[in-house]
């Protein structure tokens, strides 16, 4: 046994309102640059739907993930090492920009610069960020079928639907819809890493975050096609691969990822899992794809087991991380309550962002037919008769095995009716809990974690420096420092002070470019890091320079 720690995420799909806030804040933080316009490290897709990039789940086309050979070994679906080198001059599986979408902006300045009394109404035309030319008609985007808009044309291309029969398909179009926010899965067995010829991609030994070493990436663009989730992107300006970093500079300081921090539905959980690195390969290679979900669970180690704790200490997992693994909301949702499921385990990468399947399609259906959507008998009956959402969800989360999805949804349904009794002043009905194999107390604990958990219960992230406060405590100091709490206040723990930098690091090229642009456009205000600004000293660049003497204003 070799114990390693992994920071993992769970998303509770019932609570996602599809607002795309997570995507936008991630973009502002990470991909708001030339060459990265089309990248969405976090994207939110409407399902059923084709997703982003277009039909990414269709591995017959993209050849992402691993394939099991006849001998029971694993090989990237796109080919082994020599086959990959043979294909290095042109990668046959690489998506083109049109498979994502052609990014565009609008001529906003036309709105401001339009003459005052112009007869024509000023418009901001869309302009391609690739060619710089106006785009007369925008025909595809990263969430084109949002809220099933235009889905009559595209939905039938959903690869998960394609696995189902036609009756199911037509019925699903009328009955149900939910949102699926997606980030990099920070897999235990990542094909992106396996496919990188130069060894620039790696999994961090301490926290399992999968990263691209920007200095060692040589632009062979093999990771992009090998990731079955299509979560590595190629920056066409720098010629380097980029991906979700799990916001590691924030995690190291004990703060949640930006997409979690800003999630409007508060549906994301972050925490530590312990796993047995020696058994990863074996679990990823089980024969039946439907066994992959239990196999992946068997790789995760019980953080309360004294043997596991001893082995973790032996293998150098810090004490604070073992503690965090025991407090982990992720472990509770995956193992204790068994409601969280992995996304497409059949790709054999052992993904580490898990999902609680949405019960709301079932509840909506029940209430729409005039029944009580909080009565457990009605809900559980509905679950056993409404096979369609179940089968679709199983296609997403368990390689088609409906049993784990059903167990998860039954527990969510039981929680609904059990907690209604409690909220109405009654004692919880143990029979309801018993019907899904839980006790009343367990149901209440699960309710607390799923419905009303506080910031520090949702994000249990050990810092890399154990003495530094984490979670909301660190955030509080940040905020008090921002508004200037005065002398004697504890030193702020912001992301950049934590990393020992008062300003952002820049490459020499970046500094030269910034200096050049400052010289050529003196009226443009510079950048100020407001989060680190104490509020008392002068921050140059915050305001445009005062008008010079003699100007008439």
């Amino acid at each position: 046994m070799k114990v390693m720690a992994q920071i993992a995420m769970v998303m509770n799909l019932d609570k996602c309102i599809g607002c795309h806030t997570c995507s936008v804040t991630c973009k502002q933080a990470w991909t708001n640059r030339t060459g990265a316009e089309y990248m969405w490290f976090n994207n939110v897709e409407t399902r059923p739907g084709v997703g982003y990039p277009h039909t990414w789940e269709d591995q017959d086309t993209w050849h992402g993930g691993w394939a099991r050979t006849k001998k029971g070994r694993l090989k990237p679906r796109s080919g082994g090492r020599l086959a990959r080198l043979a294909k290095i001059f042109a990668n046959p599986d690489l998506p083109e920009l049109v498979d994502y979408y052609e990014p565009w902006s609008y001529e906003y300045d036309k709105l401001l610069s339009a003459p005052k009394d112009s007869a024509a109404f000023p418009v901001a035309r869309p302009v391609s960020q690739i060619t710089g030319k106006p785009m007369d008609k925008i025909t595809w985007g990263p969430n084109w079928d949002d809220d099933l808009g235009g889905s009559t044309e595209t939905m039938s291309q959903d690869p998960v639907l394609a696995q189902m029969n036609l009756d199911v398909r037509t019925e699903i179009e009328q009955t149900f819809m939910f949102y699926l926010p997606r980030i990099c899965e920070h897999c235990l067995n990542p094909t992106c890493v396996a496919a990188c010829p130069s060894g620039a991609m790696y999994k961090r030994a301490e926290d399992g975050i999968v990263l691209v070493d920007q200095d060692r990436c040589r632009g062979w663009r093999m990771c992009v096609s090998s990731c079955p989730y299509k979560k590595v992107y190629f920056n066409h300006t720098t010629g380097k691969a980029e991906k979700c970093t799990l916001c590691y500079p924030r995690l190291e300081a004990g703060q949640p990822t930006i997409c979690s921090e800003t999630c409007v539905g508060r549906l994301r959980y972050l925490g530590v899992l312990l796993y047995d690195a020696d058994r990863v390969g074996e679990a990823a290679a089980v024969e039946d794809p439907q066994d992959l979900y239990p196999a992946q669970r068997s790789v995760l180690l019980d953080p309360y087991d004294p043997q596991v704790v001893a082995a973790a200490r032996r293998d150098g997992v810090p004490e604070s991380w073992i503690q965090a693994a025991q407090d982990s909301p992720i472990w509770a949702l995956i193992d204790t309550y068994e409601v969280a499921l992995p996304l497409h385990p059949e790709y054999r990468t052992l993904p580490m962002v898990w999902y609680i399947p949405p019960l709301s399609p079932v509840v909506d259906q029940v209430t729409a037919s005039g029944n009580d959507g909080e009565d457990h008998k009605i809900l559980l009956t509905a679950l056993s008769t409404m096979r369609i959402p179940l089968e679709y969800l199983a296609g997403l989360f368990t390689a088609g095995d409906t049993r784990p999805v059903e167990r998860s949804l039954r527990r969510l349904a039981a929680m609904r009716s059990y907690m209604r009794d409690v909220n109405l002043g009654g004692a919880g009905d143990e029979d309801i809990a018993g019907a899904v194999g839980m006790s009343g107390a367990q149901v209440e604990d699960m309710y607390r974690l799923l419905a009303i958990a506080k910031y520090d219960d949702r994000y249990v992230i050990p810092t890399t420096h154990p003495e530094t406060p984490r979670g909301i405590a660190a955030l509080g100091q940040d905020v008090s420092d921002l508004i200037g709490a005065g002398d004697g206040s504890p030193e702020a723990c912001s992301v950049s002070t934590f990393h020992g930098q008062s300003t952002l690091r820049m490459t020499s090229r970046g500094r030269a470019a910034a200096a050049a642009s400052a010289a050529s456009q003196p009226s443009t205000p510079g950048r100020v890091n407001l989060l680190d600004w104490g509020g008392d000293e002068h921050a140059s660049g915050l305001f445009p320079p005062a008008p010079s003497e003699g100007s008439d204003r």
């Binding site: 080198l85 691209v212 720098t238 293998d315």
Partner: protein, 257 residues
């Protein structure tokens, strides 16, 4: 030998090779972030899928051919009983095939580079200079082969009596350029264009050819790296390389972005 000849066949090759070697070392040390193929496949795939493998395979054959013809002395091939006639036939046919692949591939690459709009807009000034200086020696080399070996006098031109000894004399730091002024013009132009290409090599995207991922076939699939020795998961195994953050040079702070 005139001063011009000394300049062209002694000074210039050394200047060019110095730029090549020193330039590669300098760029390797100062610009790891810029060391990439800058693949344009995201913009255009259909032409690239044919043109790039054709060009690369052809060009690698060309490199191998140059190595055989220029570096290996004629006396060695003679010694193993490889007659001049057989050598000539083999070299000319394989060389023509390589040239065909390279030129067809190059035309495809140039077409998409300068005609396909999205690729053209992603083309830097360096790319343009690189393509000019890449195309020149390829075309001149093809012309030299066609005009002397295929359609010249029977038996062709035996560059292994003139050019090869000269190149080896350069590489062994005993420059002897007496024979060079007698070499056919097409070859002389090809050589000069070739050394011009070497001179700019380190400053273009062609550096990607130096970092061929030869270690990939022997590496374990999954790469782990530890952030700090103090918190790393011991013991270190094959394929586990710790990241040294203490001697971070420029750009190392942005690892992983």
């Amino acid at each position: 030998m005139s001063a011009l000849d000394t300049l062209l066949w002694v000074a210039f090759p050394y200047a060019s090779l110095t730029l090549l070697v020193a330039g590669l070392v300098w760029r390797w040390r100062s610009d790891q972030f810029g060391w990439t193929t800058r693949s344009s496949q995201l913009h255009e795939k259909a032409i690239l899928r044919l043109a790039s493998p054709l060009f690369h395979v052809g060009f690698l054959m060309v490199i191998a051919g140059h190595f055989l013809g220029l570096i290996i002395p004629k006396t060695w091939t003679d010694a193993v009983g490889f007659r001049e006639q057989a050598y000539h036939v083999l070299a000319t046919s394989a060389g023509s095939l390589a040239a065909l692949l390279t030129v067809v591939g190059l035309v495809g690459l140039l077409w998409r580079r300068f005609i396909t709009q999205s690729v053209r807009l992603a083309t830097t000034r360096r790319d343009k200079v690189m393509y000019v200086l890449l195309t020149l020696p390829i075309l001149l080399g093809t012309w030299a082969t066609l005009s002397t070996q295929l359609f010249g006098q029977p038996g062709g031109y035996d560059y292994r009596e003139t050019i090869s000894p000269w190149l080896r004399s350069i590489l062994t730091f005993t420059p002897q350029a007496e024979a060079m002024p007698t070499v056919p013009l097409a070859f002389r132009l090809h050589i000069i264009a070739g050394f011009l290409l070497f001179a700019i090599w380190p400053f273009t995207r062609l550096v990607h050819a130096v970092t061929i991922p030869v270690q990939y076939p022997t590496r374990p699939y999954i790469v782990y790296r530890a952030r700090q020795a103090s918190v790393s998961a011991a013991p270190t195994r094959r394929g586990w390389a710790p990241v040294d953050t203490t001697t971070a040079h420029e750009g190392a702070g942005s690892r992983g972005a």
